[in-house]
Symmetry: C2
Subunit: 338 residues, 2 copies
């Protein structure tokens, strides 16, 4: 049990607790010899500052909250991993707070966490980062907040995102370059702001290539593979079947893939299928899905950096910085020439 306190270190080093505090926190104005001495004693005694005492007397908790809708999804896991790595690199700790906007007292629970834990900052994942009521709670608590892939950009400490629109456009350009002209699009749910941006990118690319979008080939899903399967049945039963299907996420693309398989439509020979996210399901499929890698972990890590590292924040554009991280097209076996 670590029972070494700052007093023990001070006594052993023959200095005051305040000097030990200075050394630990890397403050200036300590003679080099003293600094070295204290550091030596700290190491010898294996002293670890009590985070609670620290945060009780200072205004910092060294704790960041990750507010997330559904911590079980693959998306959430990547975001969390990134946030975790960011915290670790900076000696912060991460408290994961699931937020269920449909629960009766979700707001009370969020407020309780903020108040009890004196969080130093919040990282908020989609889709809840688009909820105005939640944002209001953070603002009211004066909690520095960085949003990951939000739809809009409310006045928070910052946002980190990727260019969904452009990525969808690139994917569509790629399909067009393969010779596809009749391309089905499976939209994501309206509740996820990325849905709209991905659709915009798709339409922009089609328009730029002078291709008409047949609205009977555009249908709305809910990001589950089940909806992809159902919509796939409609799409593939169309009198004039599309030669390619682009789904707004991988799970739905997987659903389309499965339906094609059931119907005996060969992928990619008779139908190219592509998704978005580079989710685990994109690799579980066969053929593996062509998709867009979303820098989920990187976005979360950058969010942490903005929160705790003044220098990083400055470089990212200061308070309210809007960081855009690069994505990546991942071409696999599910797409081919028309």
């Amino acid at each position: 049990m670590s029972v070494v306190t700052i007093k023990d270190v001070a006594a052993r080093a023959g200095v005051s607790p305040k000097t030990v505090s200075r050394v630990i926190n890397g403050e200036a104005h300590v003679r080099p010899e003293l600094r070295d001495l204290v550091q030596k004693v700290v190491a010898e005694l294996d002293y670890r500052p009590n985070a609670f005492a620290r945060s009780l007397s200072s205004s910092r908790s060294y704790l960041l909250g990750l507010f997330i809708d559904d911590p079980v999804s693959g998306y959430a896991a990547d975001v969390q991993h990134g946030a975790l790595m960011g915290c670790r690199a900076r000696s912060y700790h991460l408290v994961v707070e699931p937020v269920d906007l449909t629960a009766p007292d979700w707001a009370g629970e969020v407020r309780a966490s903020i108040a009890a834990l004196r969080l130093d900052g919040a990282v908020v994942a989609p889709p809840i980062c688009d909820d105005a009521a939640l944002m209001a709670i953070f603002a009211e608590a004066g909690l520095p907040t960085v949003l990951v892939a939000p739809s809009i950009a409310p006045p928070t400490s910052g946002t980190v995102r990727m260019d969904d629109r452009r990525a969808a456009q690139e994917m569509t350009d790629y399909l067009i370059a393969l010779g596809h002209r009749r391309i089905g699009f499976v939209q994501g749910p309206l509740s996820h702001s990325a849905s709209a941006r991905r659709e915009e990118g798709f339409r922009a690319a089609m328009a730029a290539a002078g291709l008409a979008v047949d609205e009977s080939c555009v249908m709305r899903g809910d990001f589950t593979s089940r909806s992809g399967m159902e919509l796939g049945e409609h799409l593939l039963a169309l009198p004039e079947r599309p030669t390619a299907a682009f789904a707004a996420n991988d799970d739905m693309a997987l659903g389309v893939l499965i339906t094609a398989m059931k119907l005996g439509i060969a992928v990619p020979e008779q139908l190219s299928v592509c998704g978005f996210d580079d989710a685990p399901s994109s690799r579980a499929a066969w053929p593996q899905l062509t998709t867009v890698r979303q820098p989920k972990a990187e976005m979360a890590m950058a969010a942490v950096d903005i929160l705790v590292d003044p220098e990083f924040r400055r470089k990212a554009g200061g308070e309210g910085s809007q960081l855009m991280l690069p994505h990546e097209m991942v071409v696999r076996g599910s797409t081919g020439p028309a």
Copy 2:
């Protein structure tokens, strides 16, 4: 910003801070009228005890650590979700601590977390719950520790698990009942203790049915779908091809399924495939995988309960309790008559 302190509540209620403290912590010996009055004031002022002050003066932090190998895996996500729900139900908070046993100073990082956060307890997920060095750190720190699905049962505060051996036996029984006699088995990696238990169950069922296990049909994978695909190629190229393949987890089963599909072997008509875990990948496949649902979230929630609820702990068998939670066979489309 919540700046209401215990003093504010005490002053407004006309009692001492100590009385407020008693009410908040549900201690006995407070006159009902006073109790009601204090509770009313707490509600009015929206008072939230400062968790740090609380843990500084008491010995509790109201913080539990979830120590986990790879927070990105689907397994981890379920475990975490359960732990989170357990904490929420009891006003604890969860700090997720990834442990990479291959990192140079993982032990130092674990010690630092324990010391800085004064954790009240640790929930440890597989496979790291089988690491002796890690267990030694917890023991040395005097940290109550509950293991989820461990292989062995070192002297910790408790373990929560399912009966892997029996579940594998039931799955094998099921295949045998379907008429399968020649059954391939894809072993999990030796690093996961469950691998051995699942194999034992498979062999026990075969033996009980008087069936010989052809060792050429038993091969070791590493729990990835890639290994399942590779081993599937060997398995399905065998001169006497098995009519069923049982993989020690879903990802590998999925790999076998994909290989079968590539080779034009119909599932389940020509080959039954089943996995273990009820991972997301088991549903992403087509046909969907027959598998065993492992009560991952439930195990983690029970681990939290053992840690923080004396009554639950007593019911579970007191210190060092060994809790066994029920699993469930999930029969889907990937298995059929031989």
